[in-house]
Subunit: 206 residues, 2 copies
């Protein structure tokens, strides 16, 4: 018997760390989505979170395409996903694509922080979603050329990740042994000493 959604959530959550906002504890990337619609208010709130992210020169280079299951935008995003992602993302009530303007709009100069800033805005979106009880799953696995063609995305925009958003569903509903195992396996992260340095490769004494 696979774990229930509630049990999987307990397994997947980050440890509770004193002083850390509860949303960081809650956020993880589920693959099983419940048959539950996402309200218009929720969608607006997650995009408001992205909206107030920081960006180089306040360029706000992020542009999102968003579709709801059943509409043609959702269908187009889904059609370009890798087969591995389609297996589970087909049940996501909302699919999005993040893109970013790789040039500064004021002077056309290259913006080397375009993807960095998109990643920052999406992080806020995913955290706000977690705070509202939703789950998000970012996907690098999609056909970039067909995705760009499907939406006629101009060449000065770079594609980021596709994002599934919805409410967590039962792991068993994934109907695929490998996906169920992934849905119920604890997450792992490097200890701070492996990525916070005082000199290169040397753990900082915080």
């Amino acid at each position: 018997m696979p774990l229930s959604a509630i049990e999987a959530d307990v397994v997947k959550k980050a440890p509770q760390i004193e002083g850390l906002m509860p949303a960081f504890h809650k956020r993880w990337s589920a693959r099983s989505f419940a048959e539950r619609e996402v309200s218009s208010d929720v969608l607006k709130q997650v995009f408001e979170a992205a909206r107030w992210a920081a960006s180089s020169n306040n360029e706000q280079p992020w542009r999102f395409i968003v579709g709801r299951r059943g509409d043609s935008t959702w269908e187009k995003i889904n059609a370009s996903l890798s087969p591995g992602n389609k297996r589970w993302a087909r049940k996501a009530p909302v699919l999005m694509l993040g893109t970013t303007l790789a040039r500064f709009s004021k002077n056309g100069a290259e913006n080397r922080y375009a993807l960095y800033d998109l990643g920052g805005a999406v992080s806020y979106l995913t955290l706000q979603a977690a705070a509202l009880g939703l789950t998000t799953h970012q996907m690098a696995g999609f056909d970039h050329e067909s995705m760009r063609a499907a939406f006629a995305i101009p060449p000065e925009y770079v594609l980021g990740a596709a994002i599934a958003l919805g409410y967590q569903g039962e792991p068993a509903a994934l109907g695929d042994e490998e996906l169920i195992v992934r849905e119920t396996t604890p997450r792992s992260r490097k200890p701070l000493g492996e990525f916070v340095f005082s000199a290169w490769g040397q753990p900082a004494e915080l």
Copy 2:
């Protein structure tokens, strides 16, 4: 008379939006820092927030160099900042540099989400800092070559932003008319309709 720190904070804060986590309302990028140290616990908490960010293949490509004012790491980061950033960052109690591994560690293949994932992790760091009452300011303006040389950062790592972290100080303490104006001018963001689409360039009906 310039605005006080409290008045500047009121001007700079994002609007309060129903349902949005309060930290999104609080976060903005100050340039004036108070003479107040950042505790070890606070630093650990902000890096814990970054630690639990999502990343492509769970690579966790981010590496941070962090220094406190007075130590040689802080001095090195500060030395490579642009003159414009040095004018105010010299009072920041903590300076960091974000870097990211541009190849997947498991097979050496290019990771095109390296900067994207670093941006996501830094976003979490900045939001957790805001939740704890601190301010962060990311800087693209620094000499990449001298920064890389100062820390002997290997070529497979790409530099992201430098980040100042501390408690907000009085705008007047910036001692520079232009900086004081920037410190007390309201922020602006594009409306949702300009970056949330259902088809390219077409505002989504959320």
